[in-house]
């Protein structure tokens, strides 16, 4: 209920919602999540499950086109993996809007898995942070949209990332500052699962727990693949839940390619003196049959008829 109470709304309705998800009934196609009353200090979209799913599809289509147009390859699998997570954040959960990108109280989203910049850009464009027609310039010379996020170039980007394992330490600083300044801001960080082998994450985890940063929410895009193959085979980071627990985090799991599961999990997080981690179980390349679960799509872009095939699979029905 963290986000909610931050939004200063009555929690009763959401307790109900939370309960519905708790008993794990997935009304995926039913409009069960009612919109908030939209205020200045909240997410301007407030989409329900249906709306989020539609957005997710639209963002996926953008991802396919963006990568197909890229002159320098792209991380299609990583982009697709996180779609529901970033969609849920930008279209419902984040207290942030394109016209409030410097608001001191806005929620912060940090794309620690910076190589999925393409997916991040498509979401930001869809949410109106910059003009859609920037997307075809992805990775072109002097583009507003380089191969990894650069805050000086792209409105809405909060942190230049690309070297893995940088998001969480910076998020610790942001969350700590918010605590000290008495701000309601929350700080969300999205990491990969392979990325969690970086020791910097565990340094930050210790500090987050030590300083009781319950305004910090780490989301692990646990797609079980990293660059060279399955995380289990390359460098096992499992059991993730036990690691986070031992490092003082409150741990929740969700289906990271299911907006209902993500939303209910994130809206249900407790604020009780511990940083939160959500292990989002995902499929790398989710949404496109011939990309999903295939390690070779970590750094590969759709070509030729793959483009149409993918777009067809992603069409609205």
């Amino acid at each position: 209920m963290a986000v909610l109470s931050a939004g200063k709304l009555g929690p009763i309705f959401f307790v109900l919602i939370e309960y519905l998800f708790f008993i794990e009934i997935k009304f995926k196609s039913v409009e069960i999540l009612k919109s908030y009353v939209i205020g200045d200090d909240m997410n301007p979209f407030q989409l329900d499950v249906n709306g989020l799913e539609k957005k997710a599809r639209a963002i996926r289509r953008k991802i396919i086109r963006l990568n197909a147009d890229s002159p320098a390859g792209g991380h299609t699998g990583a982009d697709l993996s996180q779609v529901e997570i970033v969609t849920s954040l930008y279209f419902r959960l984040l207290n942030c809007a394109p016209d409030r990108i410097s608001d001191d109280d806005r929620d912060i989203y940090i794309q620690s898995k910076g190589h999925a910049a393409g997916g991040y850009y498509c979401c930001l464009a869809e949410a109106g942070y910059f003009p859609e027609d920037w997307l075809p310039s992805y990775q072109h010379n002097d583009s507003h949209l380089p191969g990894h996020p650069v805050r000086q170039k792209t409105p809405g980007v909060e942190l230049n990332t690309g070297a893995l394992g940088h998001g969480l330490p910076v998020a610790v600083g942001l969350a700590l500052a918010a605590k000290r300044d008495g701000r309601s801001r929350k700080v969300y960080v999205l990491t990969g699962d392979g990325e969690l082998a970086e020791g910097s994450n565990w340094e930050a985890a210790l500090a987050a727990s030590h300083y009781q940063l319950d305004n910090l929410i780490v989301i692990n895009d646990k797609n079980k693949l990293q660059l060279a193959g399955p995380t289990e085979a390359i460098m096992k980071t499992d059991p993730l839940d036990q690691k986070w627990q031992a490092f003082g985090f409150s741990v929740t799991q969700c289906d990271g390619n299911d907006v209902a599961s993500i939303v209910s999990t994130l809206e249900g997080l407790k604020v009780e003196g511990k940083p939160n981690v959500v292990i989002a179980n995902t499929t790398k390349g989710a949404g496109v049959s011939f990309i999903a679960g295939r390690p070779e799509w970590h750094h590969r872009v759709p070509k030729g008829e793959e483009i149409d095939l993918a777009l067809k699979e992603l069409a609205d029905v």
């Binding site: 010379n141 230049n160 690309g162 970086e198 990293q226 995380t231 460098m235």
Partner: protein
């Protein structure tokens, strides 16, 4: 360019040859099997590669431990993360402990062009020059690369090799014999001497050839060996010129530009130096290689222009 070869392929072939020759060589990667194009090695010698996952500190630490146990440990991953994420492991575990580790800085410089500055390694030579013990090389072509790696594998002690991320054409002929420390004169000329290293040596050579057609007499020295360095040889190669230009896909601070500047200042040479590369305090642009180089005036056209201006100024 039919004889172009990607330096990582040369590297992997050297590893294979070394193991076949009985060298107990162990490559250590950080999820960087594709970056290092190591598959042929893994296919031939299954179970030899060590992949520590996305964890550069332990990649270098592990390599040092393997070396202490008698292995020839070679790390292969992207240069920017090697330099920065495992900086202290290189400083302490490799250099200070003087372990027999060979560090390959793959896709160095702005090889990763559009991936932007987290992926650019424009300070690797500078960082290595600040560390003790370690030898430092930057091959400019596949032939030289092979010989440098063969030398490094047999040399006992830490070595850093800066590797470009694109296929490079052959520069040296069959008789070429790499000697650690020797800068090689690729083009003779007296008006301007261009010193370059790594893949931009090709830009320098192309520039010199263009300028020759315009009647300008421009030398090109390939300084592939940064440490050791036969300083006297380089001094000889520079002396007599009115102008010296250093060209590198690297910051103008601390790398080749500084090496040349230090020599010239120590000798009190009257030639004037122009250092081309990423300017003080700056970054390489995110974009394709030719764009990035153009912005830095380290492509052949940029070098030609700088040379012409310099010679023109001298004449005026």
């Amino acid at each position: 360019m039919s004889n172009s070869e990607h330096l990582a392929n040369v590297m992997v072939q050297c590893f294979i040859d070394a193991v076949n020759d009985g060298v107990d060589l162990v490559p250590v990667v950080a999820d960087s099997t594709s970056t290092s194009k190591i598959k042929p090695f893994v296919d031939l010698f299954p179970g030899r590669l060590v992949n520590v996952g996305i964890a550069e500190q332990v990649m270098v630490g592990t390599a040092a431990g393997l070396a202490l146990a008698g292995k020839v440990a070679v790390t292969c991953n992207a240069a920017p993360f090697l330099m920065s994420r495992s900086n202290e492991q290189i400083k302490v575990d490799v250099c200070y402990n003087n372990t027999n580790v060979k560090l390959f800085g793959l896709n160095s410089g702005a090889s990763y062009g559009p991936l932007a500055s987290t992926h650019h390694s424009i300070d690797d030579i500078s960082i290595m020059r600040g560390f003790g013990n370690i030898q430092i090389f930057a091959p400019a072509c596949p032939v030289e690369c092979r010989q440098i790696i063969e030398y490094a594998i047999r040399y006992e002690g830490p070595v850093y090799i800066r590797m470009d991320g694109k296929a490079l054409p052959v520069l040296h002929d069959a008789e070429f014999q790499f000697t650690a420390g020797e800068p090689s004169l690729l083009r003779e000329g007296k008006q301007v001497v261009i010193c370059a290293l790594g893949s931009v040596v090709h830009e320098a050579v192309a520039a010199a050839d263009t300028l020759k057609e315009d009647g300008l007499d421009v030398a090109v020295v390939n300084v592939s060996s940064i440490r050791p360095l036969n300083r006297q040889r380089l001094v000889n190669q520079l002396s007599g010129a009115d102008h010296v230009i250093s060209v590198e896909e690297h910051n103008v601070n601390g790398g080749l530009g500084s090496v040349v500047a230090e020599l010239m200042a120590e000798q009190g040479m009257t030639a004037k130096l122009v250092r081309l590369g990423v300017e003080d305090g700056g970054y390489a642009a995110a974009g394709d290689r030719s764009y990035t180089r153009k912005m830095l005036s380290i492509d052949s056209a940029g070098i030609v222009m700088v040379c012409q201006q310099l010679v023109h100024e001298t004449l005026v």
